[in-house]
């Protein structure tokens, strides 16, 4: 199988289209008959990454690379960056505004969900330099 690579723009503050990139990725993986559990994990991670861009990240892009042995999600933005990535990975830590919390976001579960549902995650960020998150999902032999 050849590698398939798609890039989706994600805009800061665009709650109307938030999630559409992840839905497209999910539908693509499903149509290619990847395991439902893998599709579920990619969908969760994609959505969390998209919402991070919409709420915190500034404009950015979500890229999916689909191959026979692995799926990669690469999410990069030009936002303010993360001051302390170790702290940001902790469950419950959040810098979300109150209006986002009222919408059911900002519970400090985004990055922990991404870590839990991917096989590898790297977060590259520093204040003023934007954020790049890469998640890798191994494609196993048989569906669990």
């Amino acid at each position: 199988m050849n590698r398939l690579r798609r890039t989706y723009p994600v805009r800061h503050g665009d709650f109307i289209h938030a999630g559409e990139a992840s839905i497209h990725v999910k539908n693509t993986l499903k149509s290619l008959s990847y395991c439902p559990d893998l599709v579920r994990r990619v969908a969760i991670c994609g959505y969390e990454a998209e919402m991070n861009l919409v709420m915190h990240g500034g404009d950015g892009v979500l890229t999916v690379v689909i191959a026979a042995d692995e799926i990669r999600l690469e999410v990069a933005d030009t936002g303010p960056g993360i001051e302390n990535t170790e702290l940001a990975m902790q469950e419950g830590y959040s810098t979300a505004r109150d209006e986002y919390r009222e919408m059911g976001f900002g519970a400090g579960m985004g990055l922990p969900n991404m870590k839990r549902n991917s096989d590898e995650i790297t977060v590259d960020s520093s204040p003023g330099q934007g954020t790049a998150v890469t998640m890798v999902f191994s494609v196993g032999g048989r569906c669990p």
Partner: protein, 111 residues
């Protein structure tokens, strides 16, 4: 149980997404934190929440929920209804509390 049967049995109101009323409901989940719901709810769930904004539709599509019930007398936004209609995701409303509806669903065997 199909979404249409659930509507009839519990007196839920259809707000949008009528195209999906034939979906089968196989599980249930209750929560208002979207990250918690997307991570833990099972596919084909009915999701009970007080949230009525459009991002509930994206979560419902991503996790392949059977329907979303907006509880406690809350209503979906117009944009939410438009999105649900376009995607065929049933959006239902319930005047009572989430606790009350979950109790009824759970006691009838929906886990």
């Amino acid at each position: 149980m199909r979404v249409s049967e659930m509507i009839e049995r519990y007196g839920l109101k259809v707000e949008a997404g009528e195209g999906g009323l034939d979906r089968e409901v196989r599980a249930g989940y209750c929560g208002d934190l979207l990250s918690e719901v997307i991570a833990n709810a099972a596919a084909e769930s009915v999701w009970i929440t007080v949230q009525g904004h459009q991002n509930i539709v994206a979560v419902a599509i991503l996790r392949e929920f059977a329907a979303v019930v907006i509880s406690s007398g809350n209503k979906p936004d117009k944009e939410t209804m438009d999105k649900a209609n376009a995607e065929g995701i049933p959006l239902l409303s319930w005047k009572g509390s989430a606790y009350e509806l979950v109790g009824k669903l759970f006691s009838e065997g929906l886990g």
